[in-house]
């Protein structure tokens, strides 16, 4: 056989085999992700999160922010989930936390008893940095905005130290002449979180519910089935969204750095991602005076904010 022919056949066979090799079983399984070990930092800054909605969602929501702040401030920013709105006071008092995203009424109450400072709060799309308390029901309950129609019904509230989940419905009923809030309903259920209150109504466990409009709308947008079944009966005036407040005893540099970082969060890529998780576009400064409306509402209700009890879970 001539040399050329031998070489040609050899080359053809080699190419075929190479092609076979390339296209057979050559794909490797997906790489196993080995995350980089986290840098161990000297200081820890513990920020508490209220269980205003599903605690797992809360954790997921605030985790990117904690990570960003850890890197930006070079401190170990730890998110602490609280199981109750009432427990925040104990945590502040015991200095087990350095700060927290306070609910507005929570802030008003604690501000009177502990030395805390508001720093900033997230601003959602549409420049929304406030929320309203809402009272809602299922459409099929045939309940109207007339508070008389609410009588004898079961209502789902969040907690005694929440604006939307307790103060507003009380204020609203009082506004319509119903002073004995507890007796107007056949049963009051404190669900502990806003979404739990909404779900309680949706599932028919209660007839009415009170919660934050922001959480209500978010839950409805994520669950079309709920959206079609629910109806809002009343809305409160706007109060500041949950703001990050810190202990005043915290060193000034940390407070300043934390505030500045939050206010410039939207300017960085990592910050933008953290904002995205919070469903926000930026942070804005929160001032104590912004809570005056709520303080007046408490006065209207006859609530002594200096002595109002923090009811912890059980």
């Amino acid at each position: 056989m001539p040399a050329f022919k031998v070489i040609t056949i050899a080359a053809q066979t080699t190419l075929s085999l190479m092609t076979m090799l390339l296209f057979s079983c050559s794909e490797k399984p997906a790489d196993i992700i080995n995350p980089e070990p986290k840098k161990i930092k000297e200081r820890t800054l513990t920020i508490a999160i209220l269980p205003e909605q599903n605690v797992f969602e809360q954790k997921k929501k605030y985790k990117p922010l904690a990570e960003y702040l850890s890197n930006a401030l070079d401190v170990n920013v730890k998110i602490k989930l609280l199981d109750s709105y009432g427990s925040i006071y104990d945590e502040i008092r015991n200095r087990t936390i350095d700060g927290a995203f306070f609910g507005s009424f929570n802030y008003v109450l604690i501000k009177e008893r502990a030395d805390i400072e508001p720093l900033a709060r997230p601003v959602e799309t549409g420049d929304i940095s406030v929320y309203k308390g809402i009272i809602f029901t299922r459409k099929d309950r045939k309940i109207t905005g007339n508070v008389d129609s609410w009588k004898g019904r079961k209502i789902a509230l969040v907690h005694e130290v929440t604006t939307a989940g307790y103060v507003f419905p009380r204020w609203y009923l009082k506004k319509y002449g119903i002073n004995d809030f507890e007796r107007h309903f056949s049963k009051i259920v404190f669900t502990g979180s806003h979404d739990a209150a909404i779900l309680s109504v949706f599932k028919g466990q209660t007839d009415l519910g009170a919660a934050k409009d922001l959480i209500f709308r978010k839950l409805l947008s994520e669950n079309p089935a709920i959206k079609n079944e629910m109806i809002i009966l009343a809305e409160s005036t706007a109060v500041p969204s949950n703001s990050l407040c810190v202990r005043s005893s915290l060193d000034r540099e940390t407070k300043e750095a934390l505030k500045n970082t939050l206010l410039s969060l939207h300017e960085t890529k990592g910050g933008s991602m953290a904002l995205q998780a919070l469903n926000a576009v930026r942070f804005k400064e929160t001032k104590d005076s912004e809570f005056d409306t709520l303080r007046e509402m408490a006065i209207d209700l006859g609530i002594d904010i200096k002595t109002y009890p923090f009811r912890s879970r059980r």
Binding site: A10, L17, M18, S24, P29, D83, S193, S200
Partner: protein, 538 residues
């Protein structure tokens, strides 16, 4: 040879490449399988983690519900990590759901993965409900709701754990299957590797041996051929059937040897031609020299004869008159004397000697003044027979055997028959005189290319070398009573006829005279036929 080397190298490389490719392919498959096993190990690890996380979450939940702790971090973290692992596994399996490579070995992989996807979806749904239940349960103050949710969450957690154990078992089974396949592949690969190495070595050796033989065989043949040719044997050829460089070299070498052989043959031929030419040249030079010498001799003889003739004519004329006077007075005296006279005898002697002198003078005159030459068509055989008839009855002929070898078809020629007869008579008489004790007289006639040839030979005593040089000179004779003019006259007659005369002698064989005469019937000159070994004299 280059082609062979390239072919051999190509073949070895081909075998090696195939072997290497097979090995690489197997290694690749083994690596892929090993990666799959590693992946499976990680997946199983993840299942274990998830089981631990789920059980940890359940325990944390219980502790929280029982009031042992207010901390829900661990619970949330457990579920968070569970979620992360779930997401990781979902992505991991989703990455293989349409994996063609996986399907090559695992025919039911898609079916399995689809089934797994269903379980994952169920777990995801359950974990979502679980989280919702747990979250509400943690925050609610409603005792009934709390109990209900606690029971529901526990049940869901257990179901999830059950599912996890089920799929962990399936993953473990799959890992076992992959491991089995990997081990089988390793065994097979080992066999393939060893076989490939063995085959590569064997083929390499075979090709090496074939190549070495292919190189050394023709080279040795070429060397032998070169040695044979170097020793001068150009008839041998280097016999190679190969079509490679060595074959080409052998072919070229054969061509060169062939050309060399042709050149040597040509050289030999030219050498032989040159030698022949030399011989011919020498021969011709010799002939030319002989001819020149003969011519010179002839010229000298002719001059001598002319001088002798002139001298003889003068002397003869002067001597004839006194001789005639002597003869006349002697005869007159004799006639006047009686027969008894005492001086009569002496006078007769004087008369005889005077007559002999007159005869000699007459001969000289005949020589100096040739007789009248009258040519006519003459039959030489007839003249020879007439001449022989004149002498055959002489007493000296009794001991001599005459042998005639006459060509009956001898060409006639234009000649003077009397002069020719005189020539033959001289030659025959000389021959007879040479055979005093008997012998054989042989006369031969024959046609030649341009005339005729007559040989007169005897078996007598022959002529000495010194005499041979002078036999045609006038007055030279070895006989007591000879005049020394017979052969000189014969030579002159033959020359006058345009012919030639040669003589050859030997002491034991006798003498041969050869006469060549041109035929009148032939065009041109009678030429000078080669006398062969006869010496030309004259």
């Amino acid at each position: 040879m280059k082609k062979r080397l390239i072919s051999g190298l190509g073949l070895v490389l081909f075998i090696f490449t195939i072997g290497a490719m097979v090995v690489i392919k197997n290694l690749n498959t083994i690596v892929v399988n090993q990666n799959l096993i590693n992946e499976q190990d990680i997946i199983i690890g993840k299942y274990n983690e998830m089981l631990f996380q789920m059980k940890g979450a359940q325990a944390e939940l219980f502790r929280h519900q029982a009031g042992y702790t207010r901390n829900i971090e661990d619970l949330v973290n457990y579920i968070g990590m569970f979620d992360e692992n779930m997401g990781f596994l979902s992505r991991q399996y989703a990455g293989h759901i349409h994996d063609v490579a996986c399907m090559q070995c695992h025919t039911k992989i898609e079916e399995r993965l689809t089934s797994l996807k269903g379980i994952f979806t169920e777990i995801n749904t359950m974990i979502k409900d679980y989280k919702e239940d747990v979250s509400i349960m943690i925050t609610t103050d409603d005792e009934n709701q709390m109990r209900f949710l606690e029971s529901a969450a526990t049940q869901k957690g257990n179901t999830i754990s059950g599912h996890l154990e089920k799929i962990r078992h399936a993953a473990d089974k799959m890992r076992g299957e992959i491991k089995g396949k990997r081990n089988a592949l390793i065994n097979r690969s080992q066999i393939v590797i060893f076989s490939t190495i063995f085959l590569t070595i064997v083929f390499s050796l075979i090709i090496f041996i074939v190549l070495i033989r292919g190189i050394t065989g023709p080279v040795n043949s070429l060397i032998k051929g070169i040695q044979r040719i170097a020793s001068g044997d150009f008839s041998q050829k280097v016999e190679l059937q190969t079509k490679d460089e060595i074959g080409f070299m052998a072919e070229t070498f054969n061509g060169m040897a062939e050309r060399l052989s042709t050149m040597i043959d040509e050289k030999d031929r030219l050498l032989r031609t040159l030698q022949d030419f030399n011989l011919e040249l020498e021969k011709r030079v010799k002939e030319a020299t002989d001819k020149l010498r003969l011519t010179q001799e002839n010229m000298a003889r002719a001059e001598t004869l002319a001088a002798v003739g002139t001298l003889a004519a003068g002397i003869s004329h002067e001597i004839s008159t006194p001789l005639n006077t002597i003869t006349g007075f002697v005869q007159l005296t004799l006639s006047s004397l009686d027969d008894t006279s005492a001086i009569k005898g002496d006078l007769r002697v004087i008369e005889q000697e005077a007559l002999r002198c007159r005869k000699i003078v007459q001969g000289l005159l005949n020589f100096a003044r040739p007789q009248k030459h009258e040519e006519k068509l003459t039959e030489i055989n007839g003249i020879i027979n007439e001449t022989l008839s004149l002498i055959e009855y002489q007493p000296s002929m009794r001991k001599i055997n005459i042998k005639r070898d006459l060509n009956e078809k001898l060409r006639p020629l234009d000649a003077d028959p009397l002069q020719i007869k005189q020539v033959f008579l001289n030659l025959i008489l000389n021959a007879i005189q040479a055979m005093q004790d008997g012998g054989e007289l042989r006369i031969v006639t024959d046609n030649t290319g341009s005339g005729i040839m007559i040989e007169v030979s005897d078996t007598g005593t022959g002529i000495s070398e010194g005499d041979m040089q002078k036999i045609f000179q006038p007055f030279y004779t070895t006989k007591k009573d000879g005049t020394g003019l017979g052969l000189s006259i014969s030579y002159g007659i033959i020359k006058e006829h345009g012919g030639d005369i040669y003589a050859r002698t030997s002491s034991d064989k006798g003498t041969v005279f050869r006469v060549l005469l041109p035929s009148l019937h032939n065009a041109g000159d009678p030429g000078t036929p080669s006398p062969d070994s006869l010496d030309k004299r004259g």
